[in-house]
């Protein structure tokens, strides 16, 4: 007390000290006003350390060659993380969408990767390539070549240069014009988005129908078989099965299947009567092996049927006696000598094991009505074995550690339909298998049901997954353009974990899993999924949010959603949010109050009625206010500003709660792919069609459907035409399918 005694001797000195302190504080405060924090200019960082957004840098075409996507790194005023955009156009697209600014603040500094001294050029495929990038340059100091021949895997690309003269040189060589930053940021670019993927999903389904139809009904008159048709039976165009003369019956005309195959004429048919055949078969000709209750039993070593020719059909067979080897050290050595590609390890790890059916360089393979018992792979496709697999039944090991994949597809475009995979490691494992389709199949007791690596533009639709140890559907690495639609995953470690970019995850039903779905894929669209009674409904993973999560239903989960590290995620699209059971409990109109699944009180609303009373407390109301502001700087949470008052898909929610049969909503009509022929073959469209709805849906989404028909159309024609009014076309692109979807929700409700 002595120190503060106002009547003590030292009081005067103390007073002086306080006065000095006050003056110092005053000066400091004045300094704080004088300095302008918004002019801070951090230096560029290593691009690998940024949080990547924009188009994928891990597409096959980029990883294999010298093609590149120019990077941009952006320091936002409210975001602690440095954001790296792949593609200048990806960043430019965010500048006018408002969402980015609301979440991250405004860009403080923008640096672009320039290529002045990196020997920039264009690959044979039209992609931008460069040996290296030269420097990071402030965006407003660089010169940009726009509209040149150089493209990115997702569409148009902009090539930045530090020196305008270099830009003009590039433009002279490869076309396009040189613009400065102001012009680039105001320009619209035609680049694929998740909405493009959504609009293309029905077309991919139709394309799978065509692939199946081509493989089954018609002959193999495709380009690839013409050259090989050396024996020239003259009319390979129409008749697959050929005449009686082309038929060889095993045990009548030849002792073994293998012998029969060797003896069969090209495009002939080997008929395998019922019975068990203990042998392994090698197919080096384009033949059909048609069994009728026949069982082919291998010797427990190697693969049972090896196909090394195009256009082979295997049908009506049961296969067992497959070897147990899941990889081949011999092949590993060979490949190492040939010179490794970037993914040699995985190719060898997964591509060279034993299988019931092994196909190497066998395009046009059809596996139809085949059952395989195996502790290695069921069907292993490699080196361009674009195959159609229909009604395949793989019975794998009980413990996934003892087995391998039901279908392994490596560098092969695979179409799997109406199949069933029991046990084993992964039901379907695809590696560099762009454009594959997996649909209408059932997966039970795998490690992962469907597992994609470096595989983009795929469709995984209308499958059912049960008891998958790790997860139903997982997409690893960063591919782009995958559509995961209408699947039903239950009782599994996780429902859907898809990473990558521009993914579309919609109309899935996820119940009783550890995790419903994660939002790992960037720049993606997660809509109309139903997460019921999972431990965690959804998990927000990406550190910097860039996806839309909207119109999903969360009911009965222990926790509706969780968030990993990173900025606040806003899960809504404009004024449309998600449905969260419990969000509308309390004294407010439904949808009027923001819902925060990561906040303790909100998270308890659907499980404990009393939480509603806590939520109405002044303290909670105060917190409500606090959370909403400066979103980019908030960490680890999710907010839905306008939660829906009713589930978007009440029928599916009810069905998922009652442990029903797998549910596959009619997403193709909702997404505008209502193609009469497709509908006829679709299994899930058994309900009475409402012609009015269908036709209206078709009309409203005609733009997207047109785009969807041909991917090139999206790139070249449609978007180019609307390029100058991109904003308008983007609006149509997002709104119209939404309306279609709403209608389908209505239709769903009526059912």
């Amino acid at each position: 007390m002595a120190l503060f005694d106002p009547y003590g001797d030292r009081f005067g000195r103390l007073l002086v000290a306080v006065a000095v302190l006050a003056v110092l504080a005053g000066v400091a405060t004045a300094g704080a006003y004088a300095a302008d924090p918004s002019t801070a200019t951090p230096d560029p960082v290593a691009y690998d350390d940024t949080v990547e957004l924009g188009i994928s840098s891990e597409t096959d075409e980029l990883m294999a060659g010298s093609a590149r996507v120019p990077g941009v790194q952006v320091f936002y005023s409210q975001l602690q993380y440095v954001v790296g955009y792949n593609g200048v156009e990806s960043f430019a697209a965010t500048l006018d969408d408002g969402r980015t600014e609301r979440q991250f603040g405004y860009p403080l500094v923008v640096y672009v990767e320039t290529f002045d001294g990196g020997a920039p050029g264009v690959t044979d495929d039209g992609l931008f390539e460069a040996e290296r990038s030269t420097d990071w340059v402030a965006a407003d100091e660089a010169a940009y070549v726009v509209g040149s021949a150089a493209r990115s895997p997702a569409g148009e690309t902009v090539v930045p240069f530090a020196d305008r003269a270099n830009a003009e040189r590039f433009a002279a060589e490869h076309g396009g014009s040189v613009l400065d930053w102001g012009a680039v940021r105001d320009r619209s670019f035609s680049v694929d988005s998740a909405a493009t993927v959504r609009s293309m999903a029905p077309a991919r389904w139709s394309e799978a129908d065509e692939r199946v139809a081509d493989a089954t009904a018609k002959g193999r008159s495709g380009d690839e078989s013409v050259g090989r048709d050396t024996d020239g039976d003259g009319d390979d165009g129409d008749e697959r099965s050929g005449g009686e003369a082309d038929e060889i019956v095993v045990s009548e005309d030849a002792p073994t299947i293998d012998a029969a195959v060797a003896a069969a004429p090209p495009n002939g048919t080997v008929v395998v009567p019922a019975g068990t055949y203990e042998e392994t078969v090698t197919v080096n000709e384009s033949v059909t092996i048609a069994g009728d209750g026949a069982r082919v039993r291998g010797d427990g070593n190697g693969s049972v049927i090896a196909v090394r020719a195009p256009n082979v059909t295997l049908s009506g067979l049961s296969i067992d006696g497959v070897g147990n080897r899941t990889r081949d050290p011999e092949a590993a050595r060979e490949a190492a000598e040939e010179g490794e590609t970037w993914d040699t390890n995985i190719q060898l790890g997964y591509g060279h094991g034993d299988a019931g059916v092994l196909a190497v360089d066998a395009p046009g393979l059809l596996v139809d009505d085949v059952a395989v018992e195996t502790n290695a792979s069921g069907v292993l496709l490699r080196e361009g074995s674009d195959a159609v697999i229909r009604d395949l039944r793989v019975d794998g090991s009980d413990d996934w550690r003892d087995g391998f994949m039901g279908v392994t597809g490596i560098e092969s475009r695979v179409t799997v339909t109406d199949s069933r995979f029991d046990g084993g490691r992964d039901g379907v494992y695809l590696h560099r298998a762009d454009g594959s389709v997996i649909r209408n199949s059932t997966f039970v007791g795998n490690r992962y049901g469907t597992h994609l690596m470096y595989t983009g533009d795929a469709l995984i639709a209308d499958n059912a997954f049960r008891n998958a140890e790790f997860g139903g559907i997982t997409v690893m690495t960063r591919p782009s353009g995958n559509a995961i639609v209408g699947n039903d995953v239950r009782d599994s470690g996780a429902g859907i974990q898809a990473s990558g970019t521009r993914s579309y995850v919609g109309y899935n039903t996820l119940a009783d899993n550890g995790l419903g779905f994660s939002t790992s894929s960037r720049g993606s669209l997660y809509e109309r999924n139903v997460a019921v009674e999972n431990e965690v409904g959804a998990h927000a993973t990406t550190v910097v949010p860039s996806s839309r999560v909207v119109a999903n239903d969360f009911v009965g989960n222990d926790r509706h959603a969780e968030a990993g590290p990173g900025a606040l995620r806003i899960w809504a699209d404009g004024d449309r949010g998600n449905y969260w059971e419990g969000a509308n409990v309390g004294l407010h109109d439904p949808g009027e109050r923001a819902y925060r699944p990561t906040a303790p009180v909100d998270a308890a609303l659907h499980r404990e009625t009393a939480a509603a009373a806590v939520r109405e407390s002044p303290a909670a109301a105060l917190l409500d206010r606090l959370y909403g502001t400066v979103p980019g700087a908030r960490s680890g949470s999710i907010v839905d500003p306008s939660p829906a008052s009713e589930p978007y898909a009440p029928e599916r929610v009810d069905a998922a709660e009652s442990d029903s049969e797998p549910i596959h909503p009619d997403w193709r009509r909702a997404l505008g792919g209502a193609d009469p022929r497709t509908e006829a073959t679709a299994e899930d469209s058994t309900t009475a069609e409402d012609p009015t709805t269908a036709s209206t849906g078709d009309t409203t989404t005609s733009i997207d459907t047109m785009n969807a028909r041909k991917r090139d159309a999206t790139d070249e024609t449609a978007s180019r035409e609307t390029g100058s009014q991109e904003t308008g076309s983007r609006e149509t692109g997002s709104r119209e399918p939404t309306e279609g979807s709403r209608r389908s929700a209505g239709a769903e409700a009526r059912r």
Binding site: F4, P6, F75, Q78, Q80, Y106, V630, S635
Partner: protein, 299 residues
């Protein structure tokens, strides 16, 4: 106890300054003998810390921390100001000590200045120390959630928090000044509490309610920056938006009429002191006048 007014000097100015210093010293002694003020500071620190902990903004940076604290500050700082000031001038007047003091060469103005200065110092200590501690905590703990990516601080900076602190000073001083005026006007402790609560509610809510009301009745929205600046809370909030929070938004500004807001805060401070002085100086005559009016009506 050395009596006030013992200072004698050649110059009148020096005598007046000496009188102020003496009153200041006496008032400071009073404050220091009130342990409740220390508790107040601890309580304030607890409230701020709790808000920050629950709001979560403090773990990411200064601007989110300011956003979390803004609403609480608008209520708590005026409250502290009233607690510190509502009896400042009342006690001496009530106990008759003021009359004794006035027998010494101490003018009313000097007396009020001394009291207000001492109370202001106490108030700053009670408020600024907890806020500064909170700032230190934010500075020490705010970090990105994950270190695997490159990070930067955006526009977030301790300077912005310092600006916030710099605004709390005048904001609180305005309320302290009003509280002192209340203490001068009130004739009893109970009356002082009543008037203080009324003034607090009117200050914290009234001004903004008045703006809302005037907007509802057709005032042009372009008048908002000016209207907002007129109340202490509005001026403070506007300045925080303008100079702290708004910096993270696209550089636009215009949340408040800055000059007017600063002027308004200063005017509130000056006004409060003026009312205090006037009341003490002429209060008795006013009382006589009022008593006369009352008597005429009653009889």
């Amino acid at each position: 106890m050395t009596g006030p007014g013992a200072v004698t000097g050649p110059g009148a100015v020096r005598a007046r300054a000496g009188a102020v210093a003496t009153v200041f010293r006496r008032e400071l002694a009073t404050v220091l003998r009130t342990p409740g003020y220390g508790v107040l500071a601890v309580g304030l620190f607890a409230i701020l810390g709790g808000t920050l902990a629950v709001g979560g903004g403090g773990s990411t940076g200064f601007v989110p921390a300011v956003v979390d604290l803004l609403l609480v500050t608008e209520v708590v700082v005026p409250l502290v100001a009233f607690v510190v000031g509502y009896r400042a001038l009342l006690t001496d007047a009530g106990s008759g000590e003021l009359a004794v003091i006035r027998t010494y060469p101490v003018g009313v103005g000097g007396y009020v200045a001394g009291v207000v200065l001492a109370r202001a110092l106490a108030f700053l200590a009670i408020v600024v120390v907890p806020y500064a501690l909170i700032g230190g905590i934010v500075w020490a703990t705010a970090a990105p959630d994950t270190g695997i990516f490159a990070t930067h601080s955006g526009v977030d900076s301790p300077l912005l928090y310092l600006r916030f602190l710099g605004l709390i000073g005048p904001f609180g001083a305005a309320y302290l000044s009003v509280a002192t005026a209340v203490s001068a006007v009130a004739s009893s402790r109970r009356g002082a509490v009543a008037i203080a609560v009324l003034a607090l509610v009117a200050g914290v809510l009234g001004g903004d309610l008045a703006i809302l009301r005037s907007l509802a009745s057709g005032t042009s929205p372009s008048a908002i920056p000016g209207l907002l600046a007129s109340t202490p809370n509005g001026a403070f909030r506007g300045l925080v938006f303008e100079t702290v929070v708004g910096v993270t938004f696209a550089p636009a500004g215009g949340f408040v009429d800055v000059g007017r807001a600063v002027g308004s805060l200063l005017a509130w401070i000056a006004g409060g002191v003026a009312v205090s002085t006037a009341t003490l100086a002429y209060g008795d005559r006013l009382d006589v006048l009022l008593e006369g009016v009352r008597a005429r009506f009653v009889e």
